[in-house]
Symmetry: C7
Subunit: 100 residues, 7 copies
């Protein structure tokens, strides 16, 4: 089992692998950092069981592993697992899903 | 499927395409930026499933795709999908609906 | 349908047309701005369906279209519809009703 | 109907006519302003229907028109009706009732 | 009926008559103000009917008239009734009861 | 009945007698104040009946008189009863129990 | 019974023993402090019974003694028991579980 598959987020946390911005033009020219637009997309890698509402009932998450999602401009906590970079979000921070 | 139709907002988020202010007078004269009144109207392009109330039950949205709406003076998060500019709001921010 | 009748406020919002302060004395003399007392009264033009309470149930509004109301000293959001000036309030901001 | 009887407070608001401090001694001597103790008492003139609790149910007011009440040191919103001065409170601000 | 017995606190308010600190030693010597330790005790003189919980149900008070109570170091609102000094507390501020 | 046994804490308050730090080494040498480590332990002397949850139901306390507990680094209100020093905590502040 | 096994956390608290960062390279060379990466992992040593939701019902914890967990970058309260260093967290602070 790889490091990331061993990781189970808790409550309403969602683990996302961010899409990395293109560092080269189609023709292979290396883009300067400033020109590399920040990509607010990623793929869901793991989903927690959901957090408790104020009356104690668990709110089931609506996102699923493997879905492509649009991420907020800010927020998220970086997390390194097995040498790979991931980002942890609260489910409520995820903006929307990009259906295939 | 176009980029925007592939996008599903989450929770109580609503995707809106803002009405663009007229940049020319009826006679075709180009209006200076300052004279272009900001238009707080738009059309709903996508609606999330609703957010959980404090007891965990989902509050069904009341707005619908295609409706013309009045937008708040401030707020909203810009979102580019398929090269087009959209704005994301929480449903509660939408001021009202302009019936046809 | 006039612009204002096409407008449906959302949630607990209420659209009000403010009573305009007298700018002339009974005898027709124009009052200086400072002497024009600010009138905190208006007529309800449109009422939203109500907002959700914390358990998701909708709280039905208690005010009605056509009622004369006393408005708070501050608050309210100006809204222009069909060239006319209106003000949007949350129902909870409306101080009271002036029965006929 | 007098202006004040036409006024219906909304939600948990209560309309009070404050007791005015004595400006003369028993013997008729005019008290300087500083010596006029501020009276935190008044009579309830109108009572709203009550506000919604977090679950949407209406909390029925406990005070009644005509009751003499003790008012808080601060707070309250002045309201002029038919040329008379009144003060609007939230019911929760009213400190207590002075039974006859 | 004395002024204080005519006073009915509202909601979760409790009227207390504070125990006054000894101003003389047992032998009758007058204590300087600084040496007069502040006494955080008092007797409950009147109890409100209780305040509404978030779901609108009334939370019945647990303290009773006549009980000796320990008061918080700070807080409380002075209230003069019939020339006597009392202090108003929210029930939740009362620290504990000193059983006889 | 001693002063402390006459004291009944209210709501979710808990009365604790803090363990006093050793002021001497095992060999009897007096420790300088700085060297006296602050002890965050104590014994529960009295427990309130519990506070109301947001729906008005009482949350029964989980700690018991006589239990040894670990106290938070900060917080607590000093209370003198019958010449003895005690500390009042909200139950939620108590970190944990040290079973015998 | 060792000091730590006698300790029962209260409410939603969780006692964790943090994984200590390697201070030597594989070859045994002592790493300078700056090079010792901070390890945000630990093992759960004790779990409280859970805290009350807003309606008074207890929210049962989802983590278990012995589980390896990922800890937040910040937060946690140091606690010394029987000479050993532990850290107390609220369960909601624990980021996720690392399954064996």
């Amino acid at each position: 089992m790889s490091a990331v598959t061993k990781f189970r987020p808790l409550f309403d946390r969602v683990l996302v692998q961010r899409l990395v911005a293109e560092t080269r033009t189609a023709g292979g020219v290396i883009l300067p950092e400033a020109a590399q637009s920040k990509v607010n997309e990623g793929t869901i890698v793991a989903v927690g069981p959901g957090a408790a509402a104020s009356n104690g009932s668990i709110v089931t998450p609506v996102v699923n592993v493997g879905e492509k999602v649009v991420l907020p401009e800010y927020g998220g906590t970086p997390l390194k697992l097995g040498g790979e970079e991931y980002t942890l979000y609260r489910e409520a921070e995820i903006v929307g899903v990009l259906d295939a």
